[in-house]
Structure formats: C-alpha cells, structure tokens
C-alpha cells in the first residue's frame, strides 16, 4: 500500500515537474528576435534560387525554437490565473491547428484552381510538421497574449 502510494506520488511529482517547466522571463525577447529574424531571413533566402536545403531547414528549425522559447518563457508574475490562461490558450491553439490542417489543403487547391485554371491538377498541398508546429506555437502565443489583455 505504502509503495503504491509512494509510486503514485513519484509519478505525480514527475508530471508536475514537466507541466510546470518554464524558462526564465529574460528568454522571451531573445525568442522573439530569433523567430522574427529567422522568418525574415527564410523569406529572403527562399527567393534566392541556389539556397541550399540545409540552410532553409536550419532557419525553419531556429524559427520554431524561437517561438517555443517565447511560448515556455515565464511571465513576470506567475500565478494560478496565468496557469488557467495557459490552458485556455493551449486549447485555442489545438482547435486552430485542427481547423488549419483540415481547411488549408482545400483553400490552396481552390486558389490554384482560380489562379491557374488551365494547369490545374487538383493540387492538395501537404502540410509539413514545420507548418503545424509554427501554427500551434503562434496560435498559443497569440491566444495567451490576447487573454492576458482581456483579463488585465
């Protein structure tokens, strides 16, 4: 009985440690700088014909890391309301990403059909894991920031 209880307690503590994990607040501006600069650099280099796949891949990875840094950075004052808002923002991001995944292929197909009807082959663009990760993180950050303003 005691070992069962202590085992459950250990599991609870492990889960708590992971769910409560946050980076220091100072990390947030660095995260924004990394994410925005990588996004700008990606847009610029994507137009250049000879840019290697590795450079673009690294930029995308760094961009997602930057967004993740912003998402898991601690607020100036962390309290129970912030935890509730984080939960709501996460749910909002989850719903947005489901919508994004379902709707995007239809929209891209529709646009390509309208823009180029002669060469249209029913293109349904597959979403990469970068698109989904970026969308999740962006929606989470936007949702959290909006709710923080609403609850001010």
């Amino acid at each position: 009985m005691t070992s069962e209880k202590s085992c459950a307690e250990k599991e609870y503590q492990t889960i708590e440690r992971w769910t409560k994990f946050k980076l220091p607040n100072k990390v947030k501006p660095f995260g924004w700088i990394i994410a925005i600069s990588c996004f700008v650099a990606f847009l610029w280099l994507a137009k250049v014909a000879n840019t290697s796949f590795l450079v673009l891949y690294t930029l995308k990875t760094l961009g997602v890391i930057g967004l993740a840094m912003v998402a898991v950075a601690r607020e100036k004052v962390e309290d129970e309301m912030k935890d509730v808002l984080r939960g709501k923002a996460m749910l909002f991001a989850f719903v947005c990403v489901i919508f994004f995944i379902i709707v995007t292929p239809y929209i891209t197909t529709l646009i390509s059909a309208v823009v180029n009807p002669n060469d249209f082959e029913g293109v349904a663009i597959e979403l990469s894991h970068f698109n989904m990760l970026s969308c999740t993180l962006l929606m989470y950050i936007l949702g959290l920031e909006t709710m923080k303003r609403l609850y001010r």
Binding site: E75, K76, V77, D79, E80, M81, K82, V84, K148, L150, Y151, R152
Partner: protein, 66 residues
C-alpha cells in the same frame, strides 16, 4: 459567484497592487477577481480572506444561477 473583494479592500484601504504583493499573485489576477472574470482557487480565496480578515463567506457568495 459574486464577491465583495473591492468593498473589503476599500475598507482595509489597500490597493490592488499591495494586496497582490501580499498574496503573491499579479495585480491583474486581483482585478479579474473583482470584475468576476476569474474565480479563484480555494487556496487563493483563503489567502484573500486571511489577508482582509473576513470570512470566505463574507468575501464570496453563490448567485441563484450557480
């Protein structure tokens, strides 16, 4: 749920910022509770009642719709 936090705070002559600092939450949390946008946890409700020296029942009460 309705609360008399704003009234009790005025009686004690404490600002939102001061109350937030004593309890260890943000000023936004106190403001949200006062505006009935956020329902605090039991721990926070007890901390508020202890700091304002009133019972939890005096501070928080259920509405008919609750």
């Amino acid at each position: 749920m309705i609360n008399t936090l704003k009234v009790q705070r005025a009686i004690k002559n404490i600002t939102q910022d001061e109350l937030a600092t004593v309890i260890g939450v943000s000023r936004q949390t106190i403001n949200s509770i006062e505006k009935n946008r956020y329902v605090p946890s039991t721990v926070l409700a007890l901390k508020l009642s202890r700091t304002l020296e009133v019972s939890v029942h005096e501070l928080f009460s259920l509405e008919i719709t609750d």
